[in-house]
């Protein structure tokens, strides 16, 4: 079996970089320890090796299809739902009262990474089920919890999130699915929902859809949206199940993630679909965003995982494939010498280092964000607020950077294979197709960028940005203790200042009322800020590695730590340097995408 993940890197990030095991000192997590989570991760790796990776290509070749009103998915999904339920992998972060294991999110994210590296077409089914169950556990009544949560955590019933409608994609304020109050407290639901991931298949006897809809007479816009739990099959008085008029109308055939079904659901076509309100009326979008924010981290990690698996596939190829000869001093080649492995060509090495820099930088950021999530719920009141704000600020980046740059890194990986990279015999083309959806799921890159610049950067009057800057400054100070890391610490300081200048420049537009101009280049701002954040993660990793080498307190091999420092240097030279161009673009007075005179420039 080919290598698809580095468990060493994952454990380095968890225990050496983030010291996540310190969480076990908190009362909420006191029943866990480092051995427990290591056993869990090793068990998941064993499972992924035997039951997930072997069907990765097969699920692409036998995609989910719609036949005779049913969605047919690969049989591995049935086994996976059952095994994940029995092994406690759906909702392990839930409290004991809600049937969970109080596992910190940072370890759950790490566990997801292992599975997603092995097969990214499977994990959405359980991830959405856990997310939907979490919404019910958080906002639902005790009756609703009793009705649904345990069956979902046991993998018997699946869960989904239903937001998008044919006329309302990114613009959720325009949804029209309706909810009519009934005398028994339930609501009659009517409407179409599209792009519903994991929305139906034969291996779950029931699906609990978390549906955004408008109660009759609710205000227009996002303030009139409520959240409902709508089962495919409702529970009868004698605890049986009867059809709840949730029709599966179709399956979207996609360029990637073909094993992960994407459905079109019709609620209440026969006027017989009922659901229950989850949380308060008209608070649906706000409540759904709890799941959505978690889902954004999940999407980021799926992207980082697909890119990780692609990295190891191209690395193996580069080590095995011989082509050409190295250039000797004087610019000559010894044509009689044996061909060299392509990994020895600088341009191939550059592409591999880019893959490593993107994937490991992304993993570090995603675990950092997940750790903030844990600390935002289980630390002192003052710290809770701080970590909550940091998580809010970093979430759009943690979703977008791995999705966008992960795709770029896979493209480079595919390039390493030359023509073979384009062939289905090798897995790079599948990884390339699979990752493409990540910058669309749960809010496109454009939406994430608007969220970052339009909301998060200015949140709490800029105090949130200051919190992040403070974290970055602390990392710069730690790195500056080592002479060979100090130049990079200085570069990050300079990049951080440049970012600040850009923010101040753009804010002038917002303060003068020109909000469209303020956010017009939000996606470019996302790229610039992402580079600063990933550079911060790389500087932290290099400092951790350097400390291990200097103190001799090593868990990994010395080569492992040295490669961390080398990749940090690579990221600063090849990626962070691009921020100079981003700054120039963002501060350029020319506004080319806003046309006041309505004159078309695309003729």
């Amino acid at each position: 079996m080919s290598k698809y993940i580095s468990i060493e890197n994952l454990k380095f990030a968890l225990f050496e970089l983030l010291e996540s095991d310190k969480l076990f000192a908190l009362d909420h997590y006191k029943d866990l320890d480092k051995d427990s989570v290591n056993i869990m991760m090793d068990a998941i790796k064993d499972y992924a090796d035997k039951s997930m990776y072997p069907v990765f290509k097969e699920m692409d070749q036998q995609p989910a299809v719609y036949e005779d009103g049913k969605i047919i998915v690969h049989p591995a999904i049935g086994r996976f739902m059952k095994d994940a339920g029995e092994n406690g992998w759906i909702g392990p972060t839930f409290s004991y009262e809600d049937g969970g294991m109080q596992l910190p999110h940072v370890f759950h994210t790490a566990a997801s990474h292992i599975m997603e590296c092995a097969n990214n077409n499977m994990t959405g089914y359980t991830g959405l089920t856990g997310g939907a169950a979490n919404l019910i556990a958080t906002y639902g009544t005790s009756t609703l919890k009793e009705m649904y949560v345990s069956n979902m955590l046991e993998g018997k019933w699946a869960g989904t999130m239903c937001l998008t409608e044919p006329q309302a994609g990114s613009s959720l304020s325009d949804i029209i699915t309706s909810a009519s109050p009934q005398t028994d407290g339930s609501y009659k639901i009517k409407g179409h929902k599209i792009f519903i991931s994991g929305g139906d298949h034969e291996y779950s006897e029931n699906f609990i859809h978390l549906v955004l809809a408008r109660i009759e007479g609710a205000p227009l816009g996002t303030k009139g949206i409520s959240l409902f739990a709508v089962p495919k099959n409702r529970i009868t008085d004698n605890s049986g199940l009867e059809y709840n008029d949730v029709l599966t109308a179709g399956e979207f055939q996609k360029m990637g993630q073909k094993g992960y079904c994407t459905t079109h659901l019709v609620f209440g076509e026969n006027d017989d679909c009922y659901g229950h309100l989850v949380g308060a009326e008209n608070q649906g979008l706000k409540n759904m965003f709890q799941m959505m924010n978690g889902a954004r981290i999940d999407v980021g990690m799926t992207a980082a995982s697909v890119a990780t698996a692609a990295f190891y596939a191209s690395l193996q190829y580069a080590q095995e494939r011989s082509q050409g000869r190295r250039i000797l001093p004087g610019g000559v080649k010894n044509v009689e010498a044996q061909q060299t492995s392509i990994i020895n060509h600088p341009d191939v090495k550059r592409m591999l280092l880019l893959q490593k820099a993107v994937t490991e930088g992304s993993i570090a950021l995603l675990l950092q964000a997940s750790l903030y999530h844990d600390l935002s719920h289980h630390s002192s009141e003052e710290d809770k607020e701080k970590y909550h704000l940091l998580l809010e600020l970093l979430t759009p980046i943690a979703k977008t950077y791995p999705s966008e740059m992960g795709r770029v890194s896979i493209s480079n990986g595919l390039q390493i294979l030359g023509g073979y990279g384009f062939c289905t015999e090798f897995s790079l083309e599948q990884y390339y197709r699979d990752i493409r959806i990540m910058s669309l799921y749960e809010g496109t890159t454009g939406i994430q960028s608007l969220d970052l610049l339009g909301r998060k950067v200015v949140m709490k009057n800029g105090e949130t940005m200051k919190l992040l800057t403070k974290e970055i400054i602390a990392s710069i100070a730690a790195a500056s203790n080592y002479d060979d890391l100090k130049p990079y610490a200085d570069k990050l300081k300079s990049a951080s200042k440049n970012l600040e200048q850009v923010v101040m420049h753009l804010l002038q537009f917002a303060m003068s009322g020109n909000h469209e101009r303020y956010i017009a280049d939000a996606t470019i701002f996302m790229e610039m800020m992402s580079n600063v954040v990933i550079a911060w993660q790389w500087l932290k990793m290099a400092t951790t590695a350097k400390t291990a080498l200097v103190t001799g307190n090593t868990i990994q091999t010395s080569e492992f730590y040295e490669s961390k420092i080398h990749t940090m240097r690579f990221f600063f030279k090849y990626e962070l340097a691009k921020n100079n161009g981003f700054k120039e673009t963002l501060m350029d007075p020319d506004s080319l995408t806003i046309l006041e005179d309505k004159k078309s420039v695309l003729a």
């Binding site: 051995d35 056993i39 068990a43 998941i44 294991m101």
Partner: protein, 246 residues
């Protein structure tokens, strides 16, 4: 029925193998460790299956230092009821066998199971030595194990086929592939493992009769030789003279 399963800690299968101190010591730098697969997947899981079917207790036993506690915990997470660690750093299979057999003398068990070998030193000696120290039967390479009353029926792998033997208990049986299917420890089991008893007992004095003089790594793989598909004679010659497989 009391089952005792002997477990070892071994380097992970992809660990880079190197030696230090003039090639007399294994280099542990950067090495990740696992529960020996033959002990875990076959011996332990079969003991658990038999316990679940017919009742009894499953104890795992390890001879080693506190470094081994993580793999012992995994065995508990998979389902063992309790664990014993004999606190010493053994340098030989005989020391391991001696320690376990001394423990069994004062803590009798009906069946002692171990993997057919560890995946590091591969000597496959411990089971036989325990049986010898205890003067009880030993059946090696068991692929299938059933218990009936006070005897065990073991189907074992032999050259060219298999052999089925019946043996009176107590006995030592070494487990090979096929005896059971690997079990993944679930979250509940992992959490419960922390609360299960791990009894640490002192080792009895033991002096090794043999010492390791040194280790050597196998020679590196030579480069691939490409043979013209039309030149079958050359291929046959190389397979005979160089590869020596014909």
């Amino acid at each position: 029925m009391k089952y005792l399963v002997c477990i070892s800690r071994t380097p992970e299968t992809t660990a880079k193998i190197a030696f230090t101190d003039g090639n007399t010591q294994f280099d542990k730098n950067g090495v990740q460790y696992i529960l020996n697969p033959y002990d875990e997947w076959y011996a332990l899981v079969r003991a658990l299956e038999l316990k679940e079917a017919g009742g009894g207790t499953v104890t795992v036993i390890n001879v080693g230092t506190a470094e081994n506690d993580a793999v012992i915990r995994k065995a508990l997470a998979i389902g063992a009821d309790d664990a014993v660690r004999i606190d010493t750093d053994p340098k030989s299979a005989m020391n391991v066998a001696k320690q376990i057999s001394e423990y069994v003398k004062s803590n009798p068990h009906d069946i002692i199971l171990c993997g057919k070998e560890t995946i590091d030193y591969n000597s496959g000696e411990v089971g036989g030595m325990i049986a010898e120290f205890l003067d009880i039967p030993f059946v090696s390479y068991g692929e299938h194990l059933d218990i009936e009353g006070s005897s065990a029926t073991v189907k074992r792998d032999i050259e060219g086929g298999s052999q089925t033997v019946k043996v009176n208990l107590p006995a030592v049986i070494s487990a090979a592939k096929g005896m059971a299917e690997q079990r993944i420890p679930n979250m509940r089991g992992i959490m419960m493992a922390k609360r299960k008893p791990l009894n640490i007992v002192p080792a009895v004095p033991f002096e090794d009769a043999a010492t390791v003089i040194g280790y050597t790594l196998p020679e590196g793989k030579s480069a691939v030789k490409m043979i013209d598909p039309e030149n079958m004679d050359e291929l046959v010659r190389l397979l005979q003279e160089e590869a020596k497989v014909l």
